[in-house]
Symmetry: C2
Subunit: 322 residues, 2 copies
Amino acid sequence: MDRRLKVNASFDLGRWSERHLDNVERALDRWVSVCLPAGIGHGAPAALIDAMRYAVLDGGKRLRPLLLLAARESIVSEVPSSDSAAEPSGYEAALRAACAVELIHAYSLVHDDMPCMDNDVLRRGKPTVHVKFGEARALLAGDALQALAFELLTPDAGMSDVQQARLCRLLARAAGSAGMAGGQAIDLASVGTKLTEDQLREMHRLKTGALLQASVMMGAVFGNVSEMTLDALGRYGAAVGLAFQVVDDILDVTADCATLGKTAGKDASHDKPTYVSVLGLERSTLYAGELLLQALDALDQSDLQETQALRALASIVVNRSS
Amino acid sequence: MDRRLKVNASFDLGRWSERHLDNVERALDRWVSVCLPAGIGHGAPAALIDAMRYAVLDGGKRLRPLLLLAARESIVSEVPSSDSAAEPSGYEAALRAACAVELIHAYSLVHDDMPCMDNDVLRRGKPTVHVKFGEARALLAGDALQALAFELLTPDAGMSDVQQARLCRLLARAAGSAGMAGGQAIDLASVGTKLTEDQLREMHRLKTGALLQASVMMGAVFGNVSEMTLDALGRYGAAVGLAFQVVDDILDVTADCATLGKTAGKDASHDKPTYVSVLGLERSTLYAGELLLQALDALDQSDLQETQALRALASIVVNRSS
């Protein structure tokens, strides 16, 4: 516990986040719009963009973008100024990557909420996309958000080819059948079944962990880092990713809908195996704490200097209330 | 008509296609599998891969892969040997790109067939993916196929960073809201409405044309081509892409289910505007012929030498019966 308190006391995460979140929101607003960068098409149909914007803007904790930007900051000394017009170009490129990860996350929520999946009507305190726009448009909006993520990662200028290729590689692997979509498929098949702790961990490693870990690794694309440091960031990302899901499972039974901004208790009502159903509430809470320590240890074992934001984010993932 | 006949007589498309199709099928079989290239995940859940393989393998004309490989051949003199073990590396990279485009096409069919979209039960003569595996798994399989397309384009080795970045850029733009997904959204909104010919063309340019054109442009990534040639290939791809849809609309009213391998007459029964409903059958047929000539003219105006495969493919798109 000392360590967690130390983490919170030594760094103003709120202030750090505020500046980055402001940039992320403005970037998402700019990039998820009818005026796309020049491409094959002249423009996108407004009705589709409406649903995409609804799915992405005005809501969400933006944990994945913050993890990406924090990972970049841990290896790149250059810090963005508060004047957005003066952002250094490396930061602008990282912002693209941060938004790309968020688009993948947002699309997965849109599809996950659909009637054939979780059939949920509430997300971030608002009606879900298919409730608002109909199922067909929700399906297409999710599909288009996934494509837009890769479009953001491949601009005509402002990002090297090496960076573009690496970022696309990391994101595609984390989003696909050996990552997020694969984890969702296991989740789907596990309804009404009993999983061992190992099976549950594997499911969450893919379903939630892969994209959170990829966010960290994508941040590392913006600097030159040793294999040892990459490995440490990978272990940090894996621990934070799993901790996120353990805490999600805990909050699903302990928090109410108003606090969560989504339907509480839905895992239990869907008869899905969770950390709470497998380990119990107390052991789940202890496990989340252990994972936090694993994440911090990984950073300690690296040669990274600027890890305050990464530490504080790991702490907030475990100690959040929604 | 002389020209079309000349196109068919001067080149054995069947023989050319056979060799490439064999390579495409084997590559898809290898890449859409549980044993994915090493990435974040150790492997993908078999149940999801089953649905993905069902959606992709054993069916489909593979027009997009063939267009990509033909475009590459028009600018790269090197021709693959019939012995697959001896394929030159450039061809292997192009095969990845060819399969990536086909995965995007396959995912769009899976989602398009779902009950909230076209609600179709027959595709390539088999039950559609959601009929066979359920809606939830069909949704996830489509999502995972899109991600896998970008994973195929970003291997650890065998393709330069520049190529990876360019290919991802072209594919993402063609698949997204200013391309295929955008066109599908317009299609969705147009049910029961009357479109002008211009509006219909714009819808199809996005819905079908963008990905067909991108297939051609992605083939051009594998060689050094002049701006003039790129422009010519772009015009060729646009004309072939539109011709494909005009002919699709014609076949929807003139062919039967057994020939098409999918439900015939569904556009009319869904009250969707088509070229036949806007122009009539006779003018639609003439228009398809005009588009073929436009495609061939574009090639004539380029400095490309080896255009026989591209010519023959354009011809077959217009003169096919299914």
